[in-house]
């Protein structure tokens, strides 16, 4: 068929070419401010995976991206573009915080699962409302999820500065959770067994992220509900014909999407910070869109893309730290270029590759 690529090219070579293009352009930017791009790249790579703590941070960032990437992917299969991962994760933080602060009289084996459920439920609700508005009132989910990001931001600022504020602190954040009402960090687990693990925020939420990826795969491709979801996403008329209620399916998809984004709060609030701070979502929700695009909306791809973005985040921090002329903003430029090439311009090299492989096949 015209324009179809071998699977390994589609899933492996094309993303690699995109990444190389992004790095090439980044090199020019780095060169322009008088830094040797190869040296910068070496620092970036070493900063991402070069020593044990780096691995901890890379995996910790990747965990956030897995959750937000999966959220975008699930919505995508239902034909929806959920740009509200940021807000859904933020509000989910409220759910987790309320349980962790309010119910910490309960033992850990109760309060932690309850807090995780609360995070998922709050995220689900924050996603389901735009879903409902789309399904029943025809308000486009792209518009409403963006608006819900702002609503979430305003709501959380209010909650943090007026309701949940720890009065002994000067900044808008809650008190620390009780130790039993948190998700274990790798350092804590290691300490319990008498080891010393590299210091990083890496915590058990990473396992939850892997479980979430497995759940998404099973749900989307191995259940009747997932079949309905994909049918609605691919052809709403066919879904109606098949007796599938598109409205119900859209609301369910947005709820699941919101819940997945919400689980990011488990990593960030319950695992890393162990309290809630202002704007803890830090843009992870938006990067999730690029992660899902690069991962082709498949859980395995999302995990790999999340790992890449996690490495970029961590390596970028080291880069900004080690080379004084490269500041945080320049690192964001580099990350932006990667998102641009792997996300927005994902298919730029496709025609050229397709032509190349068509010629190869013709020659063979």
């Amino acid at each position: 068929m015209k324009g179809e690529l071998p699977r390994w090219v589609d899933l492996g070579l094309l993303p690699a070419v995109n990444l190389l293009a992004a790095l090439a352009l980044s090199s020019l930017v780095v060169l322009a401010i008088g830094v040797n791009p190869l040296a910068a790249l070496a620092i970036l790579v070493r900063g991402a995976v070069g020593y044990p703590e780096a691995w901890g941070y890379t995996l910790y960032y990747a965990t956030n991206f897995v959750f937000t990437g999966l959220a975008v992917a699930v919505a995508f299969h239902a034909g929806l573009f959920n740009i509200g991962g940021e807000g859904q994760a933020y509000v989910a933080g409220l759910g987790a915080t309320l349980v962790c602060l309010g119910l910490d009289a309960l033992p850990g084996f109760l309060v932690v699962p309850l807090a995780i459920l609360a995070a998922a439920a709050f995220g689900a609700a924050w996603g389901a409302i735009p879903g409902w508005l789309q399904a029943r009132r025809g308000s486009h989910v792209v518009i409403t999820t963006i608006m819900f990001n702002f609503l979430a931001s305003a709501l959380m600022t209010y909650m943090l500065s007026n309701v949940l504020l720890d009065p002994t602190y000067g900044s808008p954040e809650t008190r620390h959770f009780a130790p039993h009402a948190t998700v274990w960090k790798l350092t804590d687990i290691a300490a319990r067994f008498g080891f010393e693990a590299p210091r990083s925020p890496l915590n058990a939420a990473t396992l939850l992220a892997l479980a979430a990826a497995a759940f998404v795969w099973v749900y989307v491709w191995r259940t009747r509900a997932g079949y309905a979801l994909r049918t609605v996403g691919a052809n709403e008329q066919a879904a109606r014909y098949a007796g599938i209620d598109p409205a119900r399916t859209i609301i369910a998809a947005m709820a699941i999407s919101g819940a997945l984004a919400g689980l990011m709060a488990v990593n960030e609030v319950m695992g890393s910070q162990q309290r809630m701070v202002l704007a803890f979502t830090g843009g992870y929700g938006f990067v999730g869109i690029a992660v899902a695009l690069m991962g082709r909306n498949h859980p395995v791809g999302v995990c790999l893309a999340a790992l890449l973005f996690g490495a970029l985040y961590q390596g970028g921090s080291d880069l900004a730290f080690e080379i004084s002329t490269i500041n945080r903003d320049l690192v964001i430029v580099i990350q932006g270029l990667v998102i641009l090439f792997c996300g927005a311009l994902e298919n730029m090299f496709r025609p050229a590759l397709a032509a190349f492989f068509a010629r190869e096949r013709a020659a063979a």
Partner: protein, 510 residues
């Protein structure tokens, strides 16, 4: 034939990736003739015409117009060379007036007034010359299909076309409108202009063309003098083997009443009444055919019966009991549960999901079946097993359950959909346009299966815009016009002329 051909293609070759759509085509169209091109879907007719009109560039070969080699790399080149094309799906802006549509792309300057005044005078002349009257100030959306087609022809003429390519022009016309179009084409020919007619209706080829070229699998298999050929010969050339044009069937033995519609009314989203009180019945062991020009309420009727479209009035009885009010997902499910099967008119819009593997499209509507997995889970092996069985029983090729639905040919897609619905042993099969865009071999197969189902004592409601299909399959014929049943005829009493008058809303109920 005499003189320099109006259009001559020599050695035209075109591939799309692995698909060799045109293989070294030689085609010569004489001046002042009507030349037919027939072939099954995928035979390469549309690609060839697309090359002549500049949509595709050929990999090899030359195009000559009036003996001169022309380079046609975009439609503008074709128009300049005097080639006009009327597409099967009209290329008109519905909200514009006729005049605005004709001027589109040929406005003759930044300000419209002057070009409009010139066009009015010129178009008046053309309309008088070719008996092509259309109201230039009417909005295209308000015109009927026949008039829209005349606008398309007028548009081509206005751009100076001397060679007119018509792609399946009669698909949307009543027999009377078809006659009118053919009269126009004949007049055109008598004035020395040239027509290329692409169609799959062999009757039309015999009625109007001077010569006919048959294509099969991307190649020209024959070019014949129309006067010296026959439907049977053309069909055989198209398919490459002998085909049965008439369905062999016994007289129907109608049994108990299965479906009864009483005064069905439907109002669409724009507030237009699409069904204005439809009543009829279908019995076990009979095929009731609904004829009519597309857009007279047939789509709304079958979708209401299948549970999809809500009713503004009336009721549907299945085996004597009223069904759930249609218009919801639940109604569709409950219709299926009662073993009312529905083969939708448009398989790509509704009947399957183009991006799904065949095994996923093969369970559309039945994804809750207990044998397809346990509890909430769907077992891919179970869907594969079912799909293999359907593909075997309904000769779907290639037999690849994992192949994307979109990569099957139209006929094989349709066999998959039909197989899926018949497989559930329905009491009533509602089937819309069962052979639209389906090749002759598959048409034969599909017709056979419908008759077999009837003979097994099932009720079938067949909606088709192909009069031939209705006439060869139906035991009883209803004609729909403007949301009403315009007439009912037993098959034996029906002839094409009378049906045509009913379809055009001219004759009252018989």
């Amino acid at each position: 034939m005499e003189g320099v051909p109006a259009l001559a293609l020599a050695g035209v070759d075109k591939s799309f990736g692995a698909v060799h759509a045109n293989r070294a085509i030689d085609l010569s169209v004489a001046q002042g003739s009507i030349h037919g091109i027939v072939g099954e879907n995928g035979a390469g007719k549309s690609t060839l015409m697309g090359i002549a009109y500049g949509y595709y560039r050929p990999d090899a070969g030359t195009i000559r117009v009036d003996g001169r080699v022309v380079e046609i790399s975009e439609p503008q080149d074709a128009i300049r060379a005097g080639i006009g094309m009327v597409h099967q799906h009209f290329m008109l802006v519905e909200t514009f007036t006729v005049l605005e549509n004709i001027l589109l792309g040929a406005e003759g300057g930044a300000l419209l007034a002057r070009g409009e005044a010139e066009a009015r005078a010129g178009l008046a002349r053309l309309m008088a010359e070719y008996a092509l009257e259309v109201d230039l100030d009417a909005r295209v959306a308000d015109l009927d299909v026949g008039a829209q087609q005349r606008v398309e022809i007028l548009k081509a003429l206005w751009r100076g076309a001397r060679i007119l390519i018509l792609d399946e022009p009669t698909a949307v016309l009543t027999p009377q409108e078809t006659d009118r179009l053919f009269a126009l084409l004949a007049k055109w020919r008598d004035q020395g202009r040239t027509v290329l007619l692409i169609t799959h209706k062999l009757r039309e080829i015999l009625a109007i063309t001077d010569r006919v070229t048959v294509m099969r699998r991307g190649a020209v298999v024959a070019t014949l003098e129309t006067a010296r050929t026959s439907q049977a010969e053309l069909a055989e050339l198209m398919v490459g083997r002998r085909v049965l044009l008439k369905v062999d069937k016994r007289a129907a033995v109608p049994g108990a009443e299965i479906l009864r519609a009483e005064g069905l009314r439907h109002v669409d989203a724009r507030g237009i009444e699409r069904l204005r009180g439809i009543s009829f019945a279908v019995h076990a062991g009979e095929i009731v055919g609904i004829a009519g020009v597309a857009g007279n309420g047939q789509s709304e009727l079958i979708e209401a019966l299948a549970g999809l479209k809500p009713l503004a009035g009336g009721r549907i009885l299945f085996k004597g009991a009223p069904v759930d009010p249609p218009g919801s997902a639940d109604a569709c499910r409950s219709a299926r549960a009662r073993r009312i099967a529905h083969v939708p008119e448009d398989r790509l819009r509704m009947g399957l999901v183009a991006s799904f593997a065949a095994r996923e499209s093969a369970i559309l509507g039945y994804h809750d079946d207990a044998d397809l997995g346990s509890g909430p889970f769907l077992d891919p092996d179970a869907t594969r097993t079912r799909t293999n069985r359907l593909m075997e029983a309904f000769d779907v090729r290639p037999r690849l359950p994992e192949l994307r639905s979109a990569n099957f040919s139209g006929g094989n897609q349709q066999k998959l959909v039909l197989g899926r619905e018949i497989d559930r042993d329905p009491e009533l099969l509602i089937v819309g346009q069962p052979t639209r865009g389906v090749d002759i071999g598959a048409i034969e197969f599909i017709h056979r299966r419908l008759v077999d189902l009837r003979d097994a004592g099932k009720a079938i409601l067949l909606v088709s815009c192909e009069l031939d299909e209705i006439l060869s399959l139906a035991d009883r014929i209803l004609v729909m016009f403007d949301g009403r049943i315009a007439g009912e005829l037993p098959r034996a009493a029906a002839d094409e002329r009378q049906l045509g008058l009913l379809m055009a809303g001219v004759a009252a109920a018989a």
